[in-house]
């Protein structure tokens, strides 16, 4: 167990392409796979490997993220020694670099016990046993280990990712960026292992030279001086940086192998729980190839969809190839296909919304709010 490792999550992620889903929240706290938030996956990977101290660095003031993380109890990070530290700064203009963000909270690094750092972002979704990566890192005597996966990106799901150019010994020779479709490339998973002192050194150097926009550039600039090796990850990997990739990633979970890998292998995925009752399936409902969370009332038809908590799907409603966030109400006789509904949306009787798999329709949080409030008053859930 990695008792001497500190997790550092850098949420300074580009979210421009996620549009309305990240209006109210950072990518890290976007709902995914029904009951989770994006950040749950990397956070669970860390704690499953025994990491007991995690610092989360973001730039947006985010009540949704803070509410979700709380004291870190669901991840067993409510600790007297170590635990969860959230460093949230209100957005400055122009945004500061992530190196500066780390620099501003240097005390965290000095104070936390542990001599190694796992630095990661939340927009890469994967399931890994970090013990194995750490063993590789230590046994190979690397200065820096970076995770990668070989992909055949014919769908363009890894556009804009960093690409590693490796030698036969997996030493990183150079780093590029994936700008088009490509037959076979080594995608950087934006996850690094390095010594704490090296990270501190990097941070100071990045600030001093002030030529780096991001911390990883600083690493890439040291390839000739340091032993930077890549660790090959062979499991499921997804990269969320657009509505399209969010939609495709969500739909991946309907695949048994992906579900098994993400949810059941190499530890559990932890998340904040609430007290929803079981989901009630009524007579006459039809549900097919879908992921359904607790607390739903299902009277209509659901196919190839992902439904969050407390959703009500009334008689004759049809939800296909769609993603529905929590507490939505889908009224009678509606038809939804390739749609993403944010929280608390009401789809009124008889409406039809049809998107495209590449361009799903996104309905923002709380649309038709007044109706919802009336409803909430009546049924008090």
């Amino acid at each position: 167990m990695l008792v001497n490792y500190i997790g550092v999550l850098n949420l300074n992620e580009e979210e421009g392409n996620l549009k309305s889903l990240t209006v109210n929240r950072p990518l890290a706290s976007v709902i995914i796979f029904g009951r989770y938030r994006v950040i749950d996956f990397i956070l669970s990977n860390l704690v499953n490997a025994g990491v007991k101290t995690v610092g989360i660095f973001g730039q947006t003031h985010s009540r949704s993220l803070v509410d979700h993380l709380g004291t870190g109890k669901p991840w067993d990070l409510n600790r007297k020694n170590g635990g969860l530290f959230i460093f949230n700064y209100s957005l400055e203009n122009p945004p500061i670099s992530d190196a500066k963000l780390l620099k501003n909270n240097m005390e965290f690094f000095y104070r936390s016990s542990g001599d190694h750092i796992i630095l990661a972002s939340s927009r890469m979704i994967y399931k890994i046993d970090f013990n194995e990566v750490a063993r590789y890192h230590e046994e190979m005597g690397n200065d820096i280990t970076v995770l990668y996966k070989k992909v055949n990106d014919s769908e363009g799901r890894f556009l804009n990712c960093d690409v590693l150019n490796l030698d036969k010994g997996n030493e990183v020779l150079s780093v590029g960026r994936l700008l088009g479709l490509n037959a076979s490339v080594n995608i950087s998973m934006e996850t690094f292992i390095l010594k704490k002192e090296l990270l501190i050194d990097f941070i100071y150097r990045a600030i001093e030279k002030s030529k780096y926009n991001s911390f990883k550039e600083c690493i890439y600039d040291s390839l000739d001086k340091l032993k930077v090796r890549a660790y090959e990850y062979k499991g499921y990997l997804s990269f969320i940086n657009s509505v399209r990739s969010y939609y495709l990633t969500s739909m991946d979970i309907l695949d048994l192998r992906v579900r098994r890998e993400l949810f059941f292998e190499k530890g559990k995925i932890y998340t904040k729980t609430n007290d929803s009752p079981p989901t009630k399936y009524y007579e006459g409902c039809e549900v097919e190839n879908s992921l359904i969370s607790n607390g739903c009332l299902i009277k209509g038809r659901v196919k190839n969809s992902i439904i969050s908590r407390g959703v009500e799907i009334k008689e004759g409603a049809v939800v296909e190839d769609s993603i529905v966030f929590s507490n939505c109400i889908i009224e009678k006789g509606t038809f939804l296909k390739n749609v993403i509904l944010d929280k608390n949306v009401i789809i009124e009787e008889g409406k039809r919304l049809i998107g495209d798999k590449k361009f799903p329709v996104v309905i923002e949080k709380g649309e038709i709010v007044e109706n919802l409030l009336r409803k909430a008053g009546e049924i008090k859930r």
Partner: protein, 384 residues
């Protein structure tokens, strides 16, 4: 600090009438309704009634019960002063004694009660399914200035002879208590929920302890004794849904009631599981959402996180992590956590314990009597 009321939950009984379900688990910790354990209802009632000192008396197979309750944070009962305290039997200088009856169990924990010097003591069972505001009952108890108040539910007169019946005057003052009367005079059946003035109860408990013929039971001994001695006792009529799930039959019935009801029902006689103003809390687990496969066929059922369903589920309840294979059928049944019903297997009117595996093509239940399969069994062939 003096308290107006504190609660003790009697959760130590063996629950032998639940047969196979309580071989290795205490009755209050038996799963119910998919994501609950039976005691969750009583604990949630305490929490929702703002009763913040709750002792849970345990004795029989308590490992699951203890770890389920923890310090009560699931029910918001992890309080600085008070909260939940588990009270197992213990040894003293002169050795140890097991709890020999419900009244004896309370008496052995007199130190716990006295720590809070409560004015009133609320005695509860850990095996009832209901939603009740105990503060309303306390208000009634105080208005009547009663020494003891007993919650009662109205039962059909033809069933009254199966219950302990309270015969009362018009103002609900009790003048007689009849255990399973052949000719019932009233339809007010005791729910086994009592509020006592603590100083009065203490007297009676101490006296009862000296009575060698007593079985030291609240229903059988304490209540009749108090009546006989002329204590002021009242019946408090509760109109909501209430079910003692202490037998296989009543457990199954209560489960079917839960499936049948409208979860947002405005009717008091239903449990209204989805009513957010009186939530039932439980310990939550890190299961993924339920996956419903392409060929699944679900009707009138309650299903929770972690389930994977490919077959048919009708009028049934599936708990955490249940797997229902292709062409498997679950009808009128309760399937407890992590059970696996393999492809083509059939389960009818049965209660399937946790971690049971019903192998491919096997059949459990004949649809007449209720069939129970105990925790961890592996079923092949046909079982009734």
């Amino acid at each position: 600090m003096e308290r107006e009321i504190i609660a003790l939950i009697l959760a130590g009984g063996q629950g032998s009438r639940l047969e196979l379900l309580t071989k290795t688990n205490a009755k209050p910790a038996v799963e119910f309704g998919g994501k609950y354990r039976i005691i969750d209802f009583t604990l949630s009632n305490c929490s929702n009634s703002s009763i913040e000192v709750v002792g849970v008396l345990t004795q029989y197979q308590p490992l699951i019960l203890h770890s389920h309750i923890g310090i009560g944070s699931a029910w918001d009962l992890d309080r600085v002063n008070g909260g939940v305290t588990i009270l197992p039997p213990y040894t003293e200088e002169r050795g140890g004694k097991w709890y020999s009856g419900t009244a004896d169990a309370v008496l052995k924990n007199i130190n716990f009660v006295e720590k809070y010097s409560p004015e009133n003591l609320l005695i509860l069972s850990g095996d009832h399914v209901y939603k009740m505001d105990y503060l309303k009952m306390l208000k009634f108890h105080k208005q009547k200035n009663a020494d003891a108040t007993i919650a009662v539910t109205k039962v059909p007169i033809e069933e009254a002879s199966r219950f302990g019946i309270m015969n009362t005057y018009e103002d609900y003052k009790i003048y007689e208590f009849e255990e399973k009367p052949k000719k019932p005079k009233s339809t007010l059946a005791s729910m086994g929920i009592y509020i006592f003035k603590w100083d009065k109860l203490k007297e009676v408990l101490m006296e009862d302890a000296r009575d060698e013929n007593s079985s030291h039971d609240f229903g059988k001994d304490i209540i009749p004794k108090m009546l006989k001695k002329g204590y002021k006792m009242y019946a408090y009529v509760f109109n909501g849904y209430w079910k003692d799930v202490g037998t296989i039959n009543s457990y199954w019935e209560a489960s079917m009631d839960l499936i049948k009801e409208d979860p947002y029902s405005p009717k008091e006689e239903e449990l209204r599981l989805f009513d957010g103003s009186w939530k039932i809390y439980s310990v939550s687990f890190a299961y993924p959402p339920q996956y419903i496969g392409p060929s699944a066929n679900i009707s009138n059922s309650l299903i929770v996180e972690g389930c994977i369903v490919f077959g048919t589920v009708s009028n049934s309840i599936l708990s955490y992590g249940v797997v229902v294979g292709e062409k498997a059928e679950i009808i009128d049944s309760i399937i407890m956590s992590d059970a696996v019903i393999e492809d083509g297997a059939k389960v009818i009117k049965s209660i399937i314990g946790p971690k049971v595996v019903v192998k491919r093509g096997s059949v459990v239940g004949d649809g007449k009597e209720i069939t129970v399969v105990r925790e961890g069994e592996i079923v092949t062939g046909s079982v009734n």
